[in-house]
């Protein structure tokens, strides 16, 4: 006890933008609060009842005033809406050059996985000045990834991937909270985000000796789980090849099309009957319950790594959009 902070630290590119919008809303709110409180105080004193049988003049209303205090607030709220939406779109759309990191929430901890293979629990190390894109899922209840200093928050929902991103602007150590109530030790599901100078980050990344990158671990799993027996690289197997798949559009039995993103690959592993690639039989068994969310992420990363490389032709069965 003792310190009394009144305003959170600004440590990401989006934080000042959120705060500017806040200042605008505060200014509007203070203005209307003073206007209304002032009017009430003034009227209450100026027009206080002076005799028991006093009968004030009747005023039924005024159309001009009604229009005035409908149109002005409406105009102001539309500014708030547009401004808020603009900030929201920035908050929601990671830039293309963002570093990819995965997060899995479970009761009651955060698991963070870097592509290079580093795995952290309740800690996230990231480099200063680089945009970081988090792809997240949960193994049980809904959680929410919240870093107040970055002004970002995103629910982490079981059964699907959600993403958030931020670009830190200040080295330091920042709170990571779970913001969606998730049971007994919800308030213990916290950690720290460490924003490091880029060279320190490189040192940190190369420290520790992880057992292979995410994609390498995914490749091992791909063999262990016998995926490789059907999904052959030369497209001669019973199932479509996964080489060059990621990011392309897949044609489905029954006429639909779907973009092969993380969510599609995850679904195809856990619920393979949900979408069948055109020209193939629904023969794949489900891996629900056989692989953890971490392992699914490794598989996703492996499939990404064998995705289209610059200059290569897309494999048959998939079509570039």
């Amino acid at each position: 006890m003792g310190s009394l902070p009144l305003f959170p630290e600004q440590a990401s590119t989006i934080a000042p933008e959120v705060d500017h919008l806040l200042y605008f809303l505060l200014a509007v709110s203070v203005f209307f609060t003073l206007l209304i409180f002032g009017a009430i105080f003034y009227f209450a004193i100026r027009y206080r009842r002076r005799s028991e049988h006093e009968l004030p003049p009747v005023v039924h209303g005024g159309l001009a005033l009604e229009i005035l205090w409908t149109v002005i607030p409406f105009g102001l709220t539309m500014v708030m809406f547009t401004w808020g939406a603009e900030v929201f779109f920035k908050e929601s759309r990671p830039p293309d050059d963002a570093i990819q990191i995965y997060a899995v929430g479970k009761q009651w901890m955060w698991k963070l996985e870097h592509l290079e293979g580093q795995r952290e629990i309740n800690e996230l190390h990231i480099p200063l000045g680089r945009a970081v894109r988090l792809t997240m899922t949960s193994e049980d209840a809904i959680h929410s990834f919240f870093v107040p200093a970055f002004r970002t928050k995103q629910d982490v929902v079981p059964g699907r991937y959600t993403t958030t991103w931020f670009q830190p602007t200040k080295p330091g150590k920042y709170h990571l909270f779970c913001a969606e109530y998730c049971g007994n030790r919800h308030s213990g599901m916290i950690g720290w985000v460490y924003v490091m100078e880029p060279q320190d980050y490189q040192t940190w990344l190369s420290g520790g000796a992880p057992e292979g990158t995410l994609a390498e671990n995914g490749q091992k799993l791909f063999t262990q789980l016998a995926c490789v027996n059907c999904h052959k690289a030369d497209n001669q197997g019973r199932c479509p090849t996964l080489v060059g798949l990621f990011g392309n559009t897949v044609e489905l039995t029954g006429g639909g099309k779907v973009k092969a993103d993380e969510a599609y690959i995850r679904e195809s592993i856990l619920r393979p009957q949900a979408k069948i690639v055109k020209g193939y039989e629904p023969v794949m068994p489900t891996f629900q319950g056989l692989v953890t969310e971490d392992q699914v992420l490794q598989l996703v990363e492996y499939i990404k790594s064998i995705g289209p490389q610059p200059g290569t032709r897309a494999a048959p069965g998939v079509r570039t959009p």
Binding site: M1, P5, T33, I40, R49, P56, D155, R160, G188
Partner: protein, 541 residues
């Protein structure tokens, strides 16, 4: 002068005696008092939970209760307060008692249904109470899936069924009000002569009838998944967890307006009476209630901005949420304008009305913050949201409820409350409320998440301030409880119309006779025409 004690006049309280005459009554006034006792019980129960929460949060380390207990405390605080106090609060007590009297009716359209609706609330309340005594429930009052269906080891089903059952109480009350307002108005009581309290209750009833079935369905689905493992919400069973949030808020956002629209109705009455003027912009206030009722069904998705719903859904819900802000702003401006050139008295109910406008203004303006997508991402699920909705639901609804209780106490009981104590309570509650909840706005923007049993040390000073405020607030709420009971025996006898009000409910004795009016009333003037009342007062002396 020698006076002989006149035989006591017969009224609804002394017309019959005995427990049966209350438990089987079809008199809307007695049913209102049954409701009053029930919701007062749940208010103090919910208040006790709140007290324990605030004591726990004095220290950041969570030493007083376990996190399991803490999670149950905030859940049961929410359940008791929302479903068993705030939703029935004004409609079932003041509405039940005065809506028929205001339109000059002998009772509600369906007196037996009215009694049934009280029993349903009590049965629902007993389910919830059973769950609390048996070990409690820890899902949060929002019951988010899949936590509530798959992971929670607490009395989820008993609590949810309690809410399910009490929902029918709410539906029946709404239905009864709608039919009563359409069919039972006295001669001369046209739609635009209705007191604005009645308009507000009409709008509220629409939400109750149309919205509450959705929460009933949602609870049944939750029941199916938790008990029979039918996959609806849990992705492990093939369900969609966010679907629950859509269904839950489709009711629970309009439910906020079930809580606050009747409060606005009360405030309209109070502002008019104590400034002795017809309301500025009567029709704008009346139709803004209906507009709020309609728009309230179109904004539920603003609770889901970070849930993973589509970006464009977020955009639409933010846009529509700003629409619903406008009718509320219109009301505040019209109330303020009503004071202009009025004859303003500072009786207790008016102090509560001033308090309402102040707190509701802050609550409403901070609603603009959480409706702004870019800011909501940061403040949702933090103390900012807690502060915002307490300003609306406690600062707004409870201030209006207490204002209304003071205003109508003489009519309901035939006794005046002690004015000095009552004024003090209004001031204590206003100050205590702000000290409790204003620091929470700052806490929330700093990033303090809600439902945290243990929290980082730097938030402690603000939590201590908030707890200090809560102690003041608790004293403020206990005061009316004590002096209202005291006044039943020792309060001055109340005249028929102590405030110089114009409504039909004041044209009969205090307390009213069993059938409300000795002569069937006729409405002969516009609503809030104070010239008639002042004329009478001057003639009488």
């Amino acid at each position: 002068m020698i006076t002989t004690a006149a035989p006591e006049r017969e009224h609804y309280l002394n017309a019959s005696y005995g427990i049966k005459s209350w438990l089987l009554t079809k008199d809307h006034k007695r049913i209102a008092l049954l409701y009053l006792a029930t919701i007062t019980f749940f208010f103090f129960l919910g208040g006790a939970f709140a007290t324990l929460i605030r004591i726990e949060l004095l220290t950041p380390t969570g030493g007083i209760v376990s996190s399991e207990t803490y999670n149950k405390l905030f859940t049961m605080h929410g359940v008791a307060m929302v479903f068993f106090f705030l939703i029935p609060a004004i409609p079932a007590t003041l509405g039940n008692f005065f809506l028929p009297m205001m339109i000059g009716a002998r009772d509600l359209a369906f007196p037996r249904l009215n009694l049934l609706s009280w029993y349903l609330l009590v049965i629902g309340g007993l389910f919830a109470l059973f769950a609390m005594l048996a070990g409690g429930v820890d899902t949060g009052w929002t019951f988010y899936t899949p936590y509530s269906t798959t992971y929670s080891n607490s009395w989820v089903i008993a609590t949810a069924l309690g809410i399910f059952i009490s929902g029918f109480s709410s539906i029946l009350t709404g239905l009864n009000f709608i039919v009563t307002i359409h069919r039972m108005r006295a001669p001369g009581m046209t739609w635009f002569r209705l007191p604005l309290f009645v308009w507000a209750h009409y709008a509220t009833s629409l939400i109750q009838v149309l919205g509450t079935p959705v929460i009933a369905v949602t609870i049944l689905l939750l029941f199916c998944e938790r008990v029979f493992h039918i996959g609806i919400f849990d992705p492990a069973l093939g369900g969609d967890p966010v679907l629950f949030q859509h269904l839950f808020w489709f009711y629970s956002h309009p439910a906020v307006y079930i809580m606050v629209l009747p409060a606005m109705g009360v405030i309209s009455e109070l502002i008019s009476v104590y400034s002795r003027k017809p309301l500025f912009g009567y029709k704008f206030i009346a139709f803004s209630s209906v507009a709020i009722a309609v728009l309230s069904f179109l904004v539920w998705g603003h609770h889901l901005f970070v849930s993973g719903q589509s970006l464009y859904a977020g955009l639409v819900f933010s846009f529509l949420s700003y629409f619903v802000a406008i009718p509320s702003a219109i009301k505040v401006f019209n109330w303020t304008a009503t004071l202009y050139k009025g004859s303003i008295s500072y009786d207790t109910p008016m102090l509560y009305a001033f308090g309402f406008i102040g707190l509701f203004t802050v609550g409403g303006l901070t609603g603009l913050f959480v409706a702004a997508l870019g800011i909501d991402v940061h403040v949702t699920d933090t103390y900012f949201v807690i502060a915002h909705f307490h300003y609306i639901m406690v600062g707004g609804t409870i201030m209006a409820y207490l204002g209304g209780m003071h205003y109508y106490w003489p009519k309901m009981t035939g006794r005046m409350y002690p004015e000095g104590w009552a004024k003090l309570s209004a001031v204590v509650i206003f100050l205590g409320f702000n000290l409790t909840f204003f620091p929470q706005f700052i806490l929330g923007y700093l990033g303090m998440p809600r439902r945290y049993h243990v929290y980082p040390e730097e938030f402690q000073v603000l939590h201590v301030l908030s707890t200090a405020g809560a102690s003041v607030l608790a004293v403020g709420y206990l005061m009316p409880m004590i002096y209202f009971v005291w006044s039943l025996r020792y309060g001055q006898l109340a005249p028929a119309n102590p405030w110089g009000a114009t409504g039909l409910e004041w044209k009969t004795a205090s307390p009213p006779p069993v059938h409300n009016f000795d002569e069937p009333p006729v409405m002969t003037h516009e609503a809030y025409d104070y010239s008639t009342v002042i004329q009478e007062e001057i003639e009488v002396g």
